[in-house]
């Protein structure tokens, strides 16, 4: 399956789960910021992707919760520290941190959950098979 084919399937999933239009779903769309996903929608998205792709997806793989556990080593003054960024990249290897690194505010972290993140993750799973 190519990257584009996976994107097309992910788009269908997001259109169904989030009640958005086809053209609203682009590779860079943020699930919360652009597509108005709420936390419960993440569970819905995982269910639908599992059906679409036929393998199980541990939620932490795609949408990890509580990455930093309030550890001051990782977060200080509302910002993610250098070692926090290392931890983040290891927990979310499919996220593109380039933009985020410029202003790594904790409250901006939700912007990392993009359509591309899902597509990249699924691509790695599909190709591993």
């Amino acid at each position: 399956m190519t990257h584009d084919e996976i994107f097309a399937k992910v788009r269908v999933t997001l259109v169904d789960a989030l009640n958005v239009d086809d053209n609203e779903v682009t590779p860079t769309s943020r699930l919360k910021g652009d597509l108005n996903a709420e936390s419960i929608d993440f569970l819905d998205i995982v269910f639908r992707l599992e059906r679409q792709f036929g393998f199980s997806i541990p939620r932490e793989d795609l949408f990890p919760e509580a990455i930093f556990q309030g550890d001051p080593k990782f977060v200080a003054g509302g910002k993610i520290t250098e070692s926090g960024l290392v931890e983040l990249q290891s927990k979310m290897p499919y996220a593109d941190l380039t933009e985020f690194r410029k202003d790594p505010r904790l409250d901006k972290m939700e912007d990392l959950f993009t359509v591309d993140l899902i597509v990249n993750y699924l691509e790695s799973r599909v190709n591993k098979k």
Binding site: I40, L43, D44, V46, F47, S56
Partner: protein
């Protein structure tokens, strides 16, 4: 008022499907207001019955050990339901994992389709419950669980006490 919006389970296949019925009676209070002179079953209460039917299916899958909360629902209505009719709630388990489950459901009167819905439930830990909410596994305490026991007894799937 008792918050039980099904009258009886008529079929229950663990981890697969649950079917319940609800008889609509003009004596139910809500028909007086919904609407005066034109009693129709409120759509939200139809969905509540369907969600209770499906919620039991999800809860039963984990022996009622997890809190199951209604998380998300999309529904389509085809016609109204009126006093004197019997609603049949049919729910089928579509997905189930640690974090929650999903069922597809239909509501019929006889062969006529009243509504269809997709319902998602989430498993929440006691710590995730809203403040003040008891860790009571929600719908499973009380009457619904009793109704299910009756159904299990009827279908012979009940475990010995």
């Amino acid at each position: 008022m008792r918050w039980t919006w099904i009258d009886r389970f008529v079929a229950f296949e663990p981890r697969k499907s649950a079917v319940a019925v609800k008889n609509l009676s003009l004596a139910e209070d809500h028909f007086a207001d919904h609407f005066p002179g034109f009693p129709v079953m409120p759509a939200s209460l139809i969905l509540e019955g369907l969600a209770q039917t499906g919620g039991i299916l999800i809860g039963h899958a984990n022996n009622f050990e997890k809190n199951v909360v209604l998380a998300k629902m999309s529904a389509k209505f085809h016609r109204e339901a009126v006093p004197g009719e019997q609603l049949t709630y049919t729910t089928t388990l579509v997905d189930l994992n640690d974090t929650g489950g999903r069922v597809n459901g239909t509501v019929h009167v006889g062969d006529g389709l009243v509504a269809e819905a997709e319902i998602m439930f989430a498993h929440v830990s006691p710590a995730q419950l809203p403040p003040g909410m008891p860790d009571a596994k929600f719908v499973f305490s009380g009457e619904l669980a009793y109704l299910l026991k009756m159904a299990e007894a009827a279908t012979g799937t009940a475990k010995p006490a």
